[in-house]
């Protein structure tokens, strides 16, 4: 009797397997799309790095103009470099996420959770750097404007490039860090839910 019941269940399962495999068509041109997708991902990251380097290249020389105390610009450049370093670390973490190693699912969940925690720490560090830069600029910018007032009056574009560029960098870092922190906090909650679910049995 049990044998009949089990056999019936097995036959039903085989039907489900057959129905499941009835859809056997991968997306057309998948191999080509993979290569295009990989190229696009790397191009996007390279473009981001070039854009950041371009803004920094335009901004830093203006901040290093004569008449500025070495202490002030050392602190400012230090903050910029720290911000850039944290951004690079974040990009490297993103690259690793694009290449998930063939771990078991449970190990992968743990790795992803750790990565998200690192991303949150990096985002917090970036925000602290931006706050430090803001505090520094609140003191330094009026003094710099006063000292270089003649140069800025003669060539106002220097004012826009110097302070505007730095402002853009700070704003981008702030927005990015806020976005990253929120996204990864939600992600950790979901990964925890999955880890609990896989540990239940």
């Amino acid at each position: 009797m049990n044998l009949g019941k089990d056999l019936g269940k097995d036959l039903e399962w085989q039907t489900l397997v057959r129905d499941w495999k009835a859809n056997d068509a991968p997306p057309p041109g998948l191999a080509k799309r993979v290569k295009r997708g990989t190229l696009k991902a790397y191009a996007g990251i390279a473009l981001g790095i070039v854009a950041m380097a371009g803004i920094a290249a335009a901004t830093v020389p203006e901040l290093l103009r004569p008449g500025v105390s070495p202490l002030f610009y050392t602190v400012d450049i230090y903050c910029l470099l720290m911000g850039a370093a944290v951004t690079v670390v974040t990009i490297r973490a993103m690259l690793r996420t694009l290449r998930p190693e063939a771990q078991t699912t449970r190990a992968y969940l743990e790795i992803e959770k750790r990565r998200s925690k690192v991303e949150i720490h990096a985002a917090r560090l970036i925000r602290r750097m931006v706050l430090l830069m803001l505090a520094f600029n609140a003191l330094w910018a009026p003094w710099k404007l006063y000292v270089d007032r003649a140069a800025y009056a003669a060539q106002p574009w220097r004012l826009v490039v110097g302070f505007g560029g730095e402002g853009v960098i700070m704003a981008l870092l702030w927005i990015h860090s806020k976005f990253v922190r929120r996204r990864h906090e939600k992600r950790i909650a979901m990964l925890d839910e999955l880890l609990r679910a896989t540990a239940e049995d």
């Binding site: 397997v17 495999k21 009835a22 859809n23 993979v34 771990q103 896989t198």
Partner: protein
């Protein structure tokens, strides 16, 4: 069909990588698409995820050292990318989907696409811990292989799969 790698072999040069990748897609392209389908809401999103999985497979291929079988390697990457995709969304709530318009049954059976869609909907409604086990079982992986993909024990797979099958039967009861 699948070209297995030996334990000491690695995929090093570009031509070999291309060939191995093409062989893997030929062998597991359908499975990748079906696994992607369990983590997504519609055909377009499923195809995008299938592409992401294939990209991950392509990128992971040079580091494949043959510590596990090729099948395990592919399914681990597929599930892991599926999880990454799912965690980008706000919830794991059951999703509404459509019948796949691209894949009619080659044998011409009228009801096969609908039956597949009904089964897919039922699978998606399962909790994720059951969903991943039942998906691998439907792909005809053994208990050992499922345990190897998920990083758990075969007895754990057995328990989860029995629960998943019962839940699936209950859900499919109304639609079969």
């Amino acid at each position: 069909m699948s070209a297995s790698l030996g334990v000491s072999e690695t995929v090093s040069n570009a031509a070999e990588r291309d060939a191995r990748f093409a062989a893997m897609l030929a062998a597991y392209g359908g499975s990748i698409t079906r696994v992607a389908g369990t983590y997504t809401r519609g055909a377009a999103e499923r195809d995008d995820l299938a592409q992401e999985i294939a990209v991950a497979l392509w990128q992971a291929l040079p580091r494949f050292r043959g510590e596990c079988s090729e099948k395990t390697f592919v399914f681990r990457i597929a599930h892991n990318r599926g999880i990454t995709h799912a965690t980008r969304r706000k919830t794991f709530a059951p999703e509404v989907d459509v019948v796949d318009e691209r894949a009619p049954d080659p044998e011409g059976s009228l009801g096969s696409a609908e039956r597949h869609a009904a089964l897919l909907t039922a699978v998606r409604e399962l909790p994720l811990s059951q969903r991943e086990v039942v998906t691998l079982a439907l792909e005809e992986l053994s208990y050992d292989e499922i345990a190897d993909v998920l990083g758990t024990t075969t007895s754990n797979v057995g328990v989860r799969l029995n629960r998943a099958k019962e839940a699936l039967r209950a859900k499919m009861g109304g639609s079969r």
